[in-house]
Symmetry: C2
Subunit: 205 residues, 2 copies
């Protein structure tokens, strides 16, 4: 299998961490791709009309988009019920939490595009404020969850949360999340003890 | 359960159609909500920091975001394996197709915000062209799938596709998808025979 990949993408990082933790990383070839909104890329659009990272390209040529569905698929390949519990009370809690975190990443990415990619004279502060606020309020919610999450076996929500925080460091270095959310900071430190989390840290901005 | 809802939201429409088809609509109270990007809404942000539609509010107060995960949850409530096959070769095909369609809806929504909500002097044509192109190329891909989809029992990918096409009619009435994609047009006509699809058509723009 191939995975379209950039070290800057928090969604690609999520899949990479999952693949390492599931013992599948050796079966996946990372394919470096750079994507930029508002720029045509006919070659990559043939792989995915959505022009986003990551995409898992299966050995038969089929493509799978959306980091969440890719992780679900890898989880099943690895036997199932590893990073997304197959049953039980935690199953929907973890899926719910993951959806929130995925939405926070989407909001942060839109915020970055607004503040750093869009031509300066076309930026709309109310838009980026609103999207940053979605991520920030989301972090406040997970500040209440961080201790419980640290105590659980690894799951897709924990992986997504570390990707949110790593992306905040990478693209919003001055946002002050560590001061505002000390329990998230402790969670992040604990997660960094995992080689999968450490090796996949985004590059220096 | 309650579902935050707007007749204009293609994501809320997807959940509504699924709930009707799963026989669960009578257990769900539709809660009208209007969301607007770049506008604060402290009340709704308390329900979901992502400030998006739809949200399923469970009877114990827990919230579930993301129309896909909500449909998965409702599917399990209805016995499982109805709109998302539990096993078999179609399972990952349908999940993959649904992810593409979900991404097409995201791109169309960003396009609408750019062209119709953002202050006129701040619009970036390359951004909206790129996002429209993602949806349009995605439709081209589903033009190849439409006949096979029509022949299958109802699933989440078919529901998402009818929501993409309905949203194109609603917000991009002049885009010409019917002429460009005649098989999608035939698919859409067939889907409209279902009361769930018909009752949930978006309002006139």
């Amino acid at each position: 299998m191939k995975l379209t990949f950039s070290p800057a993408s928090p969604f690609a990082r999520k899949v990479r961490i999952a693949a390492i933790e599931l013992g599948l990383i050796d079966r996946i070839e990372l394919m470096p791709v750079t994507v930029a909104p508002a720029t045509r890329d006919d070659e990559y659009s043939k792989i995915t009309p959505l022009k986003k990272l990551p995409v898992l390209i299966l050995d038969d040529g089929d493509v799978m988009v959306d980091s969440y569905v890719i992780v679900e698929y890898l989880d099943e390949l690895a036997g199932g019920g590893k990073l997304v519990p197959a049953t039980g009370p935690l199953r929907w809690k973890i899926k719910r939490d993951h959806s929130l975190l995925q939405g926070m990443l989407d909001a942060m990415l839109l915020c970055r595009y607004e503040n750093m990619v869009r031509p300066q004279e076309l930026r709309w502060k109310a838009w980026s404020d609103d999207h940053w606020n979605r991520a920030w309020l989301g972090m406040a919610r997970f500040e209440q969850e961080a201790e419980a999450m640290t105590g659980r076996p690894l799951d897709i929500a924990q992986i997504a949360l570390v990707c949110v925080l790593g992306y905040a460091d990478f693209r919003f270095a001055d946002c002050g999340w560590r001061q505002a959310y000390p329990k998230l900071n402790a969670f992040h430190d604990r997660m960094l003890e995992r080689p999968s989390v450490k090796i996949s840290l985004p590059p220096k901005a």
